[in-house]
Subunit: 228 residues, 2 copies
């Protein structure tokens, strides 16, 4: 089953095509305000390079946030248009799930952190075990200090931080948690379309497909200003 994944939650826009457990191709660009202009040419480039047409895809998976207000909507509108035009299924994948899933296989807790407003982050807590990544909390919008304090008090385990917010507030998390905290590598710090596509495939196989109209962005808070 060939899935096109679209990820536009952060200033790195990415698209990927997977076929079952194989990554056929992926392209990612840091882009700031240019998601709208960048996205379609990027999909074209990827499909051309793979010798595929859009109708060769079996489904679409799109990151639904939390994340940047406008660019999420651009990603979602594009994915919905493709799915609608071709009569193929669309799966919405929460961005924090996709980010945590990049660390599938890790034993212990995973804490993806995305930038929201200045001095606020989006996060959730995940446990990776037995080849699954399970979300333990709801999606949260917290001040970085508050997040550090909660992790310090509530969870006595090794924690892997990932996401651009983790990088930005790494000194703070390390100060609060010491040797219990570690930081994912640069290749993991951004959500990736391949991860969105992989989670989309899992949802499709589990028949968790929904009506196109019900795939909507997740806003943990009202539309937020993108940090930095």
């Amino acid at each position: 089953m060939r899935i096109l994944g679209i990820e536009t939650s952060t200033p790195v826009v990415s698209v990927a095509v997977t076929e079952e457990q194989q990554l056929l191709g992926e392209a990612a660009f840091s882009t700031r305000q240019a998601h709208l202009e960048r996205l379609l040419p990027l999909i074209d480039y990827l499909l051309n390079g793979l010798g595929l047409k859009i109708e060769d895809l079996d489904g679409f998976a799109v990151a639904v946030g939390p994340g940047s207000f406008t660019s999420l909507r651009v990603g979602l509108a594009t994915a919905k248009a493709f799915a609608h035009a071709l009569g193929k299924p669309l799966i919405g994948v929460p961005t924090l799930d996709a980010l945590a899933w990049l660390l599938k296989g890790v034993s212990g807790l995973i804490c993806p952190v995305l930038c929201a407003r200045p001095r606020e982050v989006y996060t959730a807590f995940y446990l990776s075990a037995r080849n699954e990544v399970k979300r333990l909390s709801s999606y949260l919008a917290l001040e970085p200090d508050e997040l550090g304090a909660r992790l310090q008090e509530e969870l006595r385990a090794q924690i892997v931080f990932t996401g651009e917010g983790a990088l930005q507030y790494w000194d703070l998390f390390q100060e609060k948690l010491g040797e219990r905290a570690s930081l994912a590598g640069v290749a993991q710090l951004r959500p990736r379309a391949s991860s969105v596509a992989a989670l989309g495939l899992t949802a499709l196989l589990a028949k968790r497909e929904k009506d196109l109209g019900t795939v909507e962005p997740i806003y943990v808070r009202p539309p937020a200003i993108r940090c930095k």
Copy 2:
């Protein structure tokens, strides 16, 4: 410091540009025999998309294997030509290191597995701790059964498998190791140029740069046929 990473060890060729801890852009294509034709246009596309010229880069990092004989040489020749033409440093990054580093932050053992000949894999054992990924063994060429048996006997810990070879022989590893084994996600199963670039930056900052002439492919065995 802007680094161009080039990774051509497996049938997925990828290129990436990083700037310190940030991924500026990355493109990856599954390609089989077409590394030679694909690589330069892919680098062009990436740099154009980022609004960068080749002379805006501060250094080059290239995967040196083990891996596919011809495509490794294509990647290495390209990287050497750029570095030589521009007078910029070049770092060779072992492919298994780059693959293991994708799981930086994981607590426990990491076992990247690449396909070598039929029924033979390249591997090494890594420990991720304190924000470093340390290699514990030399680079090995083993039969998958032998690898499973060694892990079963020698190492009593949770092990995260990654790499295309891990996917291919997953049933075997799971049978031998049961709940101690887990498999990385699809986004991690191929070495990535962003990981090569990140390790290249670390080596450059540590002044582990070598003469261009001494950056050579790693062959654990004599040239091997690529599996599948």
